[in-house]
Amino acid sequence: MNLILLKLKEVFSIKVGIPGGLLYYRYETFINTFLEELEIESIFSTETNKEILDMGVSCCVNDACLPMKIFHGHAAALNEKCDYLLIPRIMKCENSESICPKFCGLPEMVMSGIKRKEGVITYPLYLNRNKEIKHYLRKIGKDLEIQENKIMAAYKKAVNNHKLQIQGIKDQGYRFTIFLGGHPYNLYDRFANMNLIHKLHSYGIGVITEERVSDNEKEAEIKPLMKKPYWLFYKNNYGAGKYLVKDQGIDGIIYISSFSCGIDSITIEMLKNDIGEFPFLILKIDEHSGEAGIDTRIEAFADMLERRKLH
C-alpha cells in the first residue's frame, strides 16, 4: 500500500525547475530551505558547464552579456524536465536599489529564447518590502496549491537561514590581498570566470569581496557623488573598492566583468578615476573563454605586485 502511495505521489508531484544562474548564488540558502520546508520537489540545473553555455548562446539574443546567456542555458537544460520553471523577475533589491533592466525583463527574454509559454513563474519580486516578498511567495503557493500558513512558516525559516549564512570571501594568511570586484554571478560561477579565485590563491594572492565591507562604510564612500547611485552592484563595488583603497588593507584590485556590461562600464571608470595610482586589473569575460589570455594577465599582475613590494 505504501509503495503504491509513493508511486502515486511520484506521478502527481509537481516538479519545479530552479536555474542555477545569475543571483542564485546569492540566495541559494533561502531558495533551498524554502523548497525543502514545503517538500516541493525541485530540480536544480547543474553547475555551469560547457554544454549549458553552448545551449545558452544558441537560444539567447546575441547582444546580451555572458551571465544572461548562461542563465538561458540553465533554463533550456531544465525546460523539458520540469512542470514549473522559476524565473525571478527582480524589480528592486533589498535597500530599494535598482538592478540591471535585463533582470526585470528576464522572464520574457528566457520565454522567447527557449520557446516555452506555459508553466513559468514570472511574478515581479520587490525585495525591498517584506510584504511584497510574502505576496510573491503566496502567489507561487497558489500556483502549486500549497496552504498559506505552510508557506509563511517556510518563509520564516528560510529568511533566518539566509541571514545566518555568511556571504562573500575574506581570505587571510596570503602574501598579498586584493579586492576582487564584480557581480556575484561572475565571481562565484567557477566556469564563467575560469576558476579565477583558485588561480589567484595559487599565486599567493588572497581575496576580499564587497560583501565583507559594511554598508555604512560603502555609504560613506558614495556620499561625495552628486547623485546617489541606484544600482546595487555599482554602489557595492564602487563603495567597497574606494573604502579598501583608503583603508590600505589591500595591495591591488582585480575587477571581473562580463563583456558589454552596462553597469560595469560606469563602475570601472568611476573607480579608476577616483582611486588614483593604484594597481587595477580589469578582466573581461565572454563566451569565447580564452583561458590562456586570462592566465597570462593574472601572472603579470602577480609579478607586478611582487615587484611593487620589493621596491
Binding site: V61, M91, K102, S112, M226, Y234, G262, S265, M270, D274
Partner: protein, 363 residues
C-alpha cells in the same frame, strides 16, 4: 554664468528659445559631427553606450567655447542615463574641463521643491518669477509641438510628392529659421508659414509607398547623427514613415502629463507587462500599434549595449511571428560603417515593397 547642455535631437532649438525668453546666456555646442564622436570616444569608457560618447564630445567643445555650467537631465530608472551625470563630471574633471553641474531629476524622484530649486539655480540665485518661466515654458512647448506635427506630416507625405526633396527642404528651412528666430511668437509664425508651404507641394495620391514605423531607444531615434541620418535616407527612398518618440512626447510623459503616463505604464499587453527601464515597453507597444495601423514594417534602433532595448529586441522575433509584421533591428555604435547600415535598410525596404506587391496582393 553661461549654461550648456548635451545635444538631444532638436532639443537645442527649444532650449535656445527658452534661454532667449528668460535672458540666460547659453552656449550651444556644434551639432554632432565626426569630431564630436572622435573626441567623445577618446575620453569615454569603451563599453558605454553611444549617447554618452557624443555627450562627452558636446560638453568638452562647449566648455572650450566658454560655458561654465552644465545642465543635464537625469532619471532614476534602471537605465544608464541616470548615472551619466557623475561619470561625465568625473571624466571632464580628470581632463581639465571644470564646470558647475545642475542635474535635473524627474519630479517623481526628487520632489517638486527640489526640482524648482535646481531650475532656479540656473539663474545664479537671482529671484525671477516662476510665472515667467511657466509662461516661457508653455510657449516653447507649443512651438516644439507644432514643429513636430509639421515634421511628422512631412515624414508621412514625402513618399507621395511628385518632385522629390521639396518637403525635406521645407522642413530643414523651417528648423533653421526657428532656431535663429527672435522669440516664441516669431517662431510660431515661421512654422505656420511652413505648414502653408507644405500644403502647396504637389502630391501624387495614387502612389502606394511602404509604411514603416521607427521605434527603439530615444536618443538614437531623435539624434540624426547617431542614426546616420536615417530619416533623410528614408525620405529619399520614398518611404512613408512615422515616429512617435520625439522631444514633445518626452516632455509629455515626464513633465506635462505624468499621471497619464503612470496609467499607461500599468496597461498590459501580451508581450511585456512591466516597465524594465528606458522605453522598452513603449517599443513593444509601438510594434503592436503598428500592426493595428496596418503598417508594413518596423525598424528598431538602438545603440550597442543599450540595456532596456536588448530586452525588447529579444521579444521581437516572437512578436514578428505572432503579429505577422516585419521587424528590422539596427544597432549603432561609434564605428560608423555607413554603407553597412544603408545596405541593410535598403534590403529591408526592398523586401517590404516586394512583399506588398506580390505576397500580400489582394489582401
Amino acid at each position: 554664468m553661461k549654461i550648456t547642455f548635451p545635444h538631444l535631437g532638436d532639443a537645442y532649438i527649444a532650449i535656445n528659445l527658452l534661454c532667449k525668453e528668460m535672458d540666460v546666456a547659453c552656449v550651444i555646442p556644434p551639432l554632432n559631427n565626426m569630431e564630436t564622436l572622435e573626441k567623445g570616444s577618446k575620453y569615454s569608457p569603451e563599453e558605454i553606450c553611444l549617447p554618452f560618447k557624443l555627450m562627452v564630445g558636446n560638453l568638452m567643445t562647449a566648455i572650450d567655447n566658454g560655458a561654465d555650467t552644465v545642465v543635464m537631465v537625469s532619471s532614476a530608472g534602471p537605465c544608464r542615463l541616470g548615472e551619466y551625470g557623475d561619470l561625465l563630471k568625473s571624466i571632464l574633471d580628470k581632463n581639465g574641463y571644470y564646470a558647475h553641474w545642475i542635474l535635473l531629476d524627474t519630479v517623481h524622484d526628487v520632489g517638486v521643491r527640489e526640482l524648482l530649486k535646481r531650475v532656479g539655480s540656473i539663474w545664479g540665485g537671482e529671484k525671477r518669477s516662476r510665472l515667467k518661466l511657466l509662461r516661457a515654458f508653455k510657449g516653447v512647448y507649443k512651438v516644439i509641438k507644432s514643429l513636430e506635427s509639421l515634421e511628422t506630416e512631412i515624414h508621412r507625405l514625402s513618399a507621395y510628392e511628385v518632385e522629390k526633396g521639396k518637403l525635406k527642404k521645407i522642413l530643414y528651412k523651417c528648423k533653421g529659421d526657428v532656431y535663429s528666430s527672435e522669440g516664441i511668437q516669431m517662431a510660431q509664425k515661421i512654422i505656420e508659414k511652413s505648414q502653408k508651404q507644405m500644403t502647396q507641394v504637389e502630391i501624387d495620391k495614387s502612389k502606394d509607398p511602404v509604411k514603416v514605423v521607427l521605434t527603439g531607444e530615444i536618443f538614437s531615434l531623435i539624434e540624426p547623427f547617431s542614426n546616420q541620418y536615417l530619416e533623410d535616407k528614408l525620405m529619399e527612398m520614398g518611404v512613408s514613415f512615422f515616429r512617435r518618440i520625439t522631444i514633445g512626447w518626452w516632455l509629455d510623459i515626464t513633465l506635462v502629463q505624468p499621471l497619464k503616463r503612470a496609467k499607461a505604464m500599468k496597461k498590459k499587453n501580451a508581450f511585456l507587462n512591466y516597465c524594465v527601464g528606458g522605453y522598452a515597453k513603449d517599443t513593444v507597444e509601438e510594434v503592436i500599434q503598428a500592426k493595428k495601423d496596418h503598417c508594413d514594417g518596423v525598424i528598431q534602433l538602438l545603440p550597442l549595449g543599450c540595456m532596456p532595448e536588448i530586452v525588447a529586441k529579444s521579444i521581437m522575433p516572437d512578436m514578428s511571428e505572432e503579429l505577422d509584421i516585419k521587424i528590422l533591428t539596427v544597432v549603432f555604435d561609434e564605428m560608423n560603417g555607413e554603407a553597412g547600415y544603408i545596405t541593410r535598410i535598403e534590403a529591408f525596404i526592398d523586401m517590404l515593397q516586394r512583399r506588398k506587391k506580390y505576397v500580400l496582393y489582394g489582401y
